[in-house]
């Protein structure tokens, strides 16, 4: 298996006087899933957009396999990003979206025969449910040649069955890609990730034991025990 390494270092971002990210660092390798947790407005999405290259910042150093990139998204096959809101055009059919996005016939066939997509291939994207749409978006992204996939709130507003399907999708593709995911559904993030990072006061803290999520005031006391995660 070819190993790739994404490194995002010294990421600084401020909005006016407010420092939102201070000297943040993440390293992700092929086969790894990094989960980023943090309270609302702490800068998780901002961080993802910065490393993807679509948001400017005070300073950053983003490299893939040791090569520095200012805007990795402009180089094909490096990164794909799932934004919080839906990004697929409403008027396309599912089939047309797959045909437009697939890089090869093999990818096209693989996506079109996916059991979760097959029943609604001829439907327009606007007529899909939130879960069907989210699944399709992630399926399209993991089938791009991107070495690293950034998922911003992939589980938000989805029912448990769709969440499970998305978990399976991440597991199926993690052998060849690295994932950085963020969501408020901490149970799924914990279940999917190899490492957890907590964003607090603009700083990234590597979580070594899940109890730290409570001691660092991300979770209310007793949440882990209640969720059976202790």
């Amino acid at each position: 298996m070819i190993q790739h390494e994404l490194q995002a270092d010294s990421v600084f971002k401020h909005f006016g006087d407010r420092e939102i990210l201070t000297d943040c660092f993440v390293r992700c390798k092929t086969g790894e899933v990094i989960g980023i947790l943090g309270r609302n407005g702490c800068g998780k999405s901002t961080f993802m957009k910065i490393i993807f290259g679509t948001l400017s910042c005070t300073h950053k150093y983003v490299s893939i396999d040791g090569k520095k990139y200012d805007a990795p998204y402009k180089v094909k096959g490096l990164m794909a990003y799932l934004p919080q809101q839906h990004f697929l055009p409403d008027l396309l059919t599912v089939k047309a979206a797959i045909k437009l996005y697939a890089d090869s016939r093999v990818d096209e066939e693989r996506m079109m025969t996916d059991e979760n997509v097959l029943p609604y291939l001829s439907k327009n994207i606007f007529s899909l449910s939130g879960g069907e749409r989210r699944y399709l978006e992630i399926l399209l992204l993991v089938n791009t040649p991107a070495k690293f996939i950034l998922l911003d709130e992939p589980f938000n507003g989805l029912d448990p069955l769709v969440k499970e399907k998305i978990m399976l999708l991440i597991r199926a593709y993690r052998a060849t890609k690295g994932f950085i995911i963020t969501d408020h559904d901490y149970r799924h993030i914990i279940a999917a990730s190899d490492r957890i990072i907590l964003v607090t006061n603009g700083v990234f803290k590597n979580i070594k034991a899940l109890e730290e999520l409570e001691t660092l005031h991300y979770l209310p006391p007793g949440s882990l025990a209640f969720s059976g995660l202790e």
Partner: protein
């Protein structure tokens, strides 16, 4: 050897064709704003000059300038996230807008050539 050259050539061709499809998709999205707006501008031109040439002049002028700029602005305002559809395929906003504008220029050139041959 010929087989390899053919294979590489075909891959490059398919790559370009897929890129072009994405650009055309953006072009259509932008012009779903631009064309109605430019038609309105064309109607104003008709009032001004009372001739088909007045309509066409105002329509083309809007299609290339104000209508195009407004379309890009409103598309960004209404569908900011839609840009990620193109970003994930390696297109920047500048490439999309520049590409769509160049397609417009190409259309104008074709129109001019047809008009030139017809006269």
């Amino acid at each position: 050897m010929h087989g390899i050259v053919f294979f590489v050539g075909r891959c490059l061709y398919l790559e370009k064709a897929r890129g072009m499809k994405m650009l055309l998709h953006y072009y259509k999205a932008i012009h779903s704003f631009n064309i109605p707006f430019s038609l309105l501008a064309g109607l104003l031109g008709l009032v001004e000059h009372d001739k088909l040439s007045g309509f066409l002049r105002a329509f083309t002028l809007s299609l290339f300038t104000g209508g195009f700029a407004l379309s890009v602005f409103f598309f960004g305002l209404a569908y900011e996230n839609r840009y990620y559809f193109y970003y994930n395929k390696g297109f920047s906003k500048l490439q999309l807008i520049g590409g769509a504008y160049l397609l417009n220029v190409a259309m104008l050139l074709v129109y001019r050539l047809i008009k030139f041959w017809m006269i």
